[in-house]
């Protein structure tokens, strides 16, 4: 791959990504959405974040992510549900996944 190709790709990706970020933010201030739609927006964010978290927890490149990662995430979620501090949740998830891999669990 040539460096100039990569420069073009990265420029387009950067511009497009910023464009989509700004489009949402700008539209949020500009258009007055009807009240029922306004109330849907936080729920839309919840749906997207939940989907993002679950697919990242369970899949890798379109396939099942193995056992160690979902197990780590599960430990984190249980701790979060039991009101553990956020840092503990994140570290416990990582340590569980890494520990299981160390034991040979995929």
């Amino acid at each position: 791959m040539s460096v100039s190709t990569a420069v073009v790709v990265i420029t387009l990706l950067a511009l497009g990504t910023y464009g989509m970020r700004l489009a949402g933010v700008a539209l949020a201030g500009r258009i007055t959405l009807p009240e029922p739609v306004r109330r849907l927006l936080p729920l839309a964010a919840v749906a997207l974040l939940a989907a993002l978290a679950i697919t990242a927890a369970l899949t890798e490149a379109g396939r099942w992510a193995g056992v160690a990662r979902p197990a780590g995430v599960l430990v984190g979620v249980i701790l979060a549900w039991r009101k553990a501090p956020f840092a503990v949740v994140v570290i416990a998830a990582a340590v569980t996944a890494a520990g299981l891999r160390l034991l040979g669990v995929p």
Binding site: L13, V25, L27, A28, G29, L48, R69, V89, A93
Partner: protein, 235 residues
């Protein structure tokens, strides 16, 4: 930037709590930034370009994907795949846009800090002032650690390239879910999240990356179904 500075100067307890929580995820972002820098350098991208990419794109998933597709000689796929993966930022922007800043300058800068984590941290707060602070604190902190990580990665090279080392791949979904839990106390939100996540999961093996997450918006149909039920019940 005056905006960011005032926000960072506030020291009340809730802010410190947010900052401490952000710290955990920011360290994970640093480590993943290191592996991104290393992988991109190993794919023969010059260091300055790798760093520019992290600063200007600032979206980890899309960056890994684009570098992977560039490495196998698919520049068009790299652009389209990366943009598809980032398309979720548009609905995210709609949801938090008015929380970011009142003025245009703040919104122009704040838009670049729109990432999954800044949205999740903002949504986890109940009052608007705190939501705004959480958004900027998270976005700015992760912007710094992601880029510092990338720089380190380009310098360290191949030795640190694997993001699954130290279980970092489990850290992000666990953090996102922990931030989502308070929102899920509401039954409607719980159903929307459940249906959305299930649809995305089922679509993941068959559709290109980025599309399944967008399909999660079908979870909003739950709201319509419930409203119809209520109408039927009250009729």
């Amino acid at each position: 930037m005056a905006n960011v500075r005032t926000i960072l100067r506030t020291h009340d307890r809730a802010d410190r709590a947010i900052l401490r929580d952000v710290g955990a995820i920011a360290l994970a972002a640093l480590a993943i930034g290191v592996s991104f820098g290393a992988i991109a350098t190993a794919a023969d991208l010059p260091g300055w370009l790798v760093i520019a990419m992290s600063v200007l794109v600032f979206a980890g998933g899309a960056q890994f994907m684009a570098v992977g597709l560039l490495a196998v000689g698919s520049p068009v796929g790299a652009v389209l795949g990366g943009l598809l993966l980032n398309a979720r930022h548009l609905p995210f922007g709609l949801a938090v846009g008015e929380e970011i800043a009142d003025r245009w300058r703040g919104r122009l800068i704040g838009s670049h800090l729109l990432i999954d984590e800044s949205v999740a941290f903002a949504m986890a707060q109940t009052d608007p002032v705190r939501r705004r602070r959480a958004y900027w604190l998270t976005g700015a902190t992760l912007f710094v650690t992601w880029n510092v990580g990338t720089v380190l990665g380009t310098l360290l090279g191949g030795a640190v390239a694997d993001p699954t080392a130290f279980g970092l791949d489990a850290a992000f979904p666990a953090g996102l879910l922990a931030l989502l839990l308070p929102s899920l106390r509401e039954p409607v939100a719980r159903w929307v999240a459940l249906v959305g996540a299930a649809v995305a999961l089922l679509a993941t093996p068959v559709l290109p990356a980025g599309v399944p997450v967008l399909l999660a918006l079908t979870g909003l149909l739950v709201v319509a179904v419930r409203r119809r039920k209520k109408e039927v019940a009250s009729a």
